[in-house]
């Protein structure tokens, strides 16, 4: 309370010093470092010369890489849409029909959310592989005669991603719907609106902050995903994430890899600015 104007005091500085040091040194500085590297030039033997070389960013327009970039955004967009279509009914159900089970129902969404990401992707390897549960079921139902190739396809990658990111969509949707005053719905219906009409004119627009937050939380990490395409995809489903991994671990073209990573970070920044503009707060659902 002493430094009235800026609000700073010795105690406050002490409380904030550790986080500033840790996130400054191990979050911000590394990001600035790859920003600098993204404008550098990779040497033949893996070294890097700093400078101002925009060619790493222009490389993205090389047809070879452009195909990967476009594919990544298409898959991430489809995944976001699937998560929205699956997540909305469940969030709606918990918020309006959950009653006294609400807490347990939302906890049941959070448990997969916190369960190891790798294992949840691996589960689909077990299900989709050659003679896995999926093929057994298809044959049992008489849809297919023999085992069909399900794994290592774009469809498998999309399915694995929808599974992995669905809780990221449900939680902010639920948070938005839970705040909703049910009297608004009653009012609309008293005034003669049909259920369908009430949903599209009242409920859905009011849940937009959740829809936008959920879409960002699904789209951004899907665009940077590399584990799911590694496990469930083949050579035809290489995504930006795989490309970044290759540049850093195999090709050792760190300048290009940094440029790709910066693009993903820029995408996040754009999404946050979009959220702030349309929802009007500067915070995103993080848990």
């Amino acid at each position: 309370m002493r430094g009235q104007k800026s609000g700073w005091s010795l105690g406050l500085a002490g409380l904030l010093a550790p986080v500033t040091l840790w996130l400054g040194l191990f979050f911000l500085v590394p990001l600035l470092l790859i920003l600098a590297y993204s404008f550098g030039t990779s040497g033949v033997y893996g070294g890097i010369t700093l400078g101002f070389n925009p060619s790493n960013y222009l490389k993205v327009f090389d047809p070879l890489y452009l195909e990967i970039v476009v594919r990544t955004f298409v898959i991430a967009a489809i995944n976001t849409l699937i998560c929205l279509l699956l997540g909305y009914p469940l969030a709606y159900f918990i918020a309006f029909k959950g009653g006294r089970w609400k807490t347990i129902l939302i906890l049941m969404v959070m448990v997969p959310f916190w369960t190891s990401f790798l294992i949840r992707a691996y589960a689909w390897v077990v299900i989709l592989n050659g003679n896995g549960v999926a093929n057994k079921t298809l044959q049992f139902l008489g849809i297919t005669d023999g085992p069909v190739n399900l794994i290592f396809t774009p469809g498998a990658v999309t399915l694995g991603m929808a599974y992995a990111y669905l809780p990221f969509m449900i939680l902010p949707l639920y948070a938005a719907l839970e705040k909703f005053d049910p009297r608004l719905k009653e009012a609309a219906q008293d005034l003669g609106a049909s259920k369908w009409h009430t949903f599209w004119r009242i409920t859905f627009p009011l849940s937009m902050p959740g829809v936008i937050a959920g879409s960002i939380l699904v789209f951004i990490p899907s665009a940077g995903e590399f584990v799911i395409p590694n496990l469930l995809g083949g050579s035809r489903t290489v995504l930006i994430g795989n490309l970044v991994q290759q540049q850093f671990l195999q090709a050792r073209d760190w300048a290009f890899g940094s440029a790709l990573a910066m693009m993903l970070a820029a995408l996040l920044l754009a999404a946050i600015l979009f959220y702030v503009r349309h929802v009007g707060t500067d915070k995103l659902e993080g848990v």
Binding site: K5, T115, V126, G224, A261, L284
Partner: protein
């Protein structure tokens, strides 16, 4: 009244549809994990046909020294990262929840940016940073990285707890002559302890399960459980991986249920609200 009963009947049908859809989505969320757990008890080497109940793959886990080493590494990293992140995160929450100061928006944005930044970006930037700084990759770099990405989560959870706290109790302690340190240790800390515990448990889960960031900052011989599972997968799907996955899922489950006990109903809502608004 006839007009009133028709929509009610429709309402019931749509309610049942919604219940069915919700049930199917829960099935979608849980069935894949259940299948992995189910096949971990298969006596045959197959992950396709269930031959009979057996726990022999769990025995196999205990006999594989590389798996045990990875488990100890995961445990060490989890405990060390959680301890550091919980202290720093709690201090940060205290600073942010009770002070208005210039640069607060920047501090807030930094905290949230760290939770939503794609993991691959955090991973490669730390890799580049450690290599540039000449730090050898290993357990230490994994701990540093895990602290960096869990601090924000601890901050968010503890802050939610603090926002629901009555400050007049602290003022009373100070009026009665307690100094700031005494007030914190005897009054504030006991009151926010459930939030701190919940934050610590969530930090441990995040660390224990992390694959992407660890993948980039680990060195030779510093494998954690997720890294071990990933490298085993390269040689194909085996019941041993199912057993190991089951162990990891159960550890996570126990911790999350523990955290949800600490994080009472009100705090859970508070966390969601604090992170949403």
């Amino acid at each position: 009244m006839a007009a009133g009963s028709a929509p009610k009947g429709m309402c019931r049908i749509s309610d049942r549809m919604l219940l069915l859809v919700a049930g199917l989505i829960y099935l979608f969320l849980y069935a894949p994990i259940a299948i992995v757990i189910f096949f971990s008890f298969n006596s045959a080497k197959s992950t396709q046909n269930f031959a009979g109940f057996s726990t022999k793959w769990y025995g196999e886990l205990l006999r594989d020294q590389t798996i045990l080493d990875a488990f100890y590494n995961s445990l060490f990293v989890g405990v060390a990262a959680t301890a550091i992140a919980t202290v720093i995160g709690t201090l940060t929450a205290l600073a942010l929840s009770r002070n208005e100061f210039r640069g607060k928006t920047f501090a807030d944005s930094g905290i949230y940016a760290a939770t939503v930044m794609p993991e691959i970006v955090v991973g490669v930037s730390l890799l580049v940073f450690f290599v540039a700084a000449g730090v050898g990759l290993g357990i230490t770099t994994i701990v540093i990285a895990h602290v960096a990405f869990t601090i924000s989560f601890v901050t968010i959870v503890v802050r939610a707890r603090l926002s629901g706290m009555d400050r007049s109790i602290e003022e009373a302690a100070q009026d009665l002559g307690a100094n700031p340190v005494q007030t914190f240790l005897r009054v504030t800390l006991p009151l926010i302890l459930p939030g701190v515990m919940a934050g610590a448990l969530l930090a441990f889960t995040l660390s224990f399960d992390d694959f992407v960031i660890t993948f980039f900052v680990s060195g030779v011989g510093s494998s954690t459980l997720p890294l071990k599972i990933y490298s085993m997968l390269k040689f194909g799907v085996t019941p041993v991986i199912n057993a190991l996955s089951t162990v990891v899922v159960l550890v996570t489950l126990v911790i999350i249920l523990g955290a949800s006990r600490f994080l009472g109903r009100d705090e859970a809502r508070e966390v969601r609200r604090a992170t949403e608004e």
